[in-house]
């Protein structure tokens, strides 16, 4: 007879059906359990578990499982009830009316527009766009501030190239005009026929005419106001009997008295 192993004994205890014959009555099995302390401990623990299991109501766990699975099955069987609901009267007409105003769109346009708007409407789109723009910026210009330097340099060069000659001409005209109208030292008589005066540019002539006209207009207005003020003050300083009539009334003529 072969010597029994621990595994064989424990398997026989757990599932007696796997062992042929009446293994409990075999003397070698009882001898193995008596001699093997680990199998003895294991058998004590198993017996304690069996007693605890036997203390539970026999059908409690099974009833719970059956209740649980039966409930789930019942609910799952009922769920297709929710698959088709009546939206109420007039719903189809309402949909048809709403769609009758909309022509069917073409294939690629709504797809592109839909993809675009779906991308743009995402909350993270601004961050993603900023990230992509920054990456492109760095890739193109080399460093973040390189583009600013490049832009400033380019703008300055373009300004010099395109705007430089007219600005320099205008600046030269203005300088020449300023030097001409500035009150300089009176040249001596011998130098009257000095260097030949260059013709005045049209812009300067127009500017001078405008300023002269404004000056003369201002002077005439100021003179008129001053004369009116003098008349008013001289009239108010005269005695009442000697006062001439106010400017709006004709002077009293004694020869034309009604007497």
């Amino acid at each position: 007879m072969n010597r029994l192993t621990c595994d064989y004994v424990r398997a026989a205890i757990l599932d007696p059906g796997t062992v042929p014959g009446d293994w409990v009555g075999r003397p070698d099995a009882a001898a193995h359990i008596q001699q093997c302390p680990s199998c003895r401990d294991w058998l004590e623990a198993f017996a304690a578990g069996e007693q605890a299991w036997a203390a539970e109501p026999a059908d409690r766990f099974a009833a719970q499982v059956i209740d649980r699975t039966a409930g789930v099955e019942a609910v799952v069987c009922d769920l297709p009830l929710l698959a088709d609901l009546d939206p109420g009267p007039g719903f189809a007409e309402r949909v048809l009316m709403a769609t009758s105003r909309k022509p069917a769109t073409e294939r690629w346009r709504p797809r592109v527009a839909g993809a675009w708007w779906a991308m743009v409407r995402r909350p993270r789109f601004a961050w993603e766009a900023a990230y992509v723009a920054t990456v492109c910026w760095v890739l193109v210009f080399g460093n973040p501030v390189g583009a600013i330097e490049w832009s400033a340099t380019s703008i300055r060069a373009v300004a010099r190239e395109r705007l430089g000659p007219p600005v320099n001409d205008l600046r030269a005209d203005l300088d020449a005009w300023r030097s001409r109208i500035a009150p300089g030292p009176v040249p001596p008589a011998g130098e009257a026929a000095g260097p030949r005066v260059e013709p005045v540019p049209p812009v300067v002539r127009v500017w001078e005419a405008a300023t002269n006209w404004l000056r003369s207009l201002t002077a005439s207005v100021v003179n008129a106001i001053a004369r009116a003020w003098e008349r008013a003050t001289s009239w108010s300083e005269q005695p009442a009997g000697e006062r001439p009539a106010p400017p709006g009334e004709p002077p009293t003529d004694a020869a034309r008295s009604p007497q």
């Binding site: 649980r68 609910v75 088709d84 719903f91 189809a92």
Partner: protein
């Protein structure tokens, strides 16, 4: 298929799906109309055969998510009471059968509203509308294993909620 015939054939399913998202009858009507308008606009892109129904559910689901996002900005989400749900008409004939089905539907809707959003979507697409689990995963954009595990958990949770609600109603 003519557009009008399509609307009349699918209005019940689209409305049911919209109702599962909106949770309110009037909002569900508005949402279902938006879904139909979107379907009409995309008439040139309709897939054929077996791909049509999953595509329809995908469009409806995207529309519903947009709608809920807009509504969340406009006003807080409303929860329909059981009486409103019970008023939903039932295609089943017979007054008694209609009343029983209406009661069961209201119970299921109330229990569904208690689930998390992803669990509710899985249950609605998988168990209510009968889509294969692969298509549910594709529509929701989540891994297949996630759908499987969540589907079984959601079923158990839904059953527990239905049981609790039915006991609460019975006690009342």
């Amino acid at each position: 298929m003519a557009w009008e015939a399509f609307v009349r054939q699918f209005q019940g399913r689209v409305f049911a799906l919209a109702y599962s998202y909106a949770g309110d009858r009037e909002d569900a009507r508005d949402l279902a109309q938006e879904i139909f308008v979107r379907l009409y606009e995309a008439r040139g892109q309709w897939p054929t055969g077996d791909e049509f129904l999953p595509w329809l559910f995908r469009v409806a689901r995207n529309r519903s998510v947009d709608y809920l996002r807009r509504r969340r900005v406009r006003r807080p989400a409303s929860t329909a009471d059981d009486a409103e749900v019970a008023e939903l008409p039932d295609p089943a004939p017979g007054a008694e059968a209609q009343a029983i089905a209406s009661d069961r539907r209201s119970l299921l809707h109330a229990a569904l509203r208690g689930l998390s959003a992803i669990s509710r979507e899985i249950v609605v697409l998988r168990d209510v509308h009968g889509l294969p689990i692969q298509q549910v995963a594709s529509i929701l954009g989540v891994p297949l294993g996630t759908v499987k595990s969540r589907a079984s958990r959601a079923r158990v949770e839904l059953a527990a909620r239905v049981l609790a609600l039915s006991r609460g109603r019975g006690d009342a």
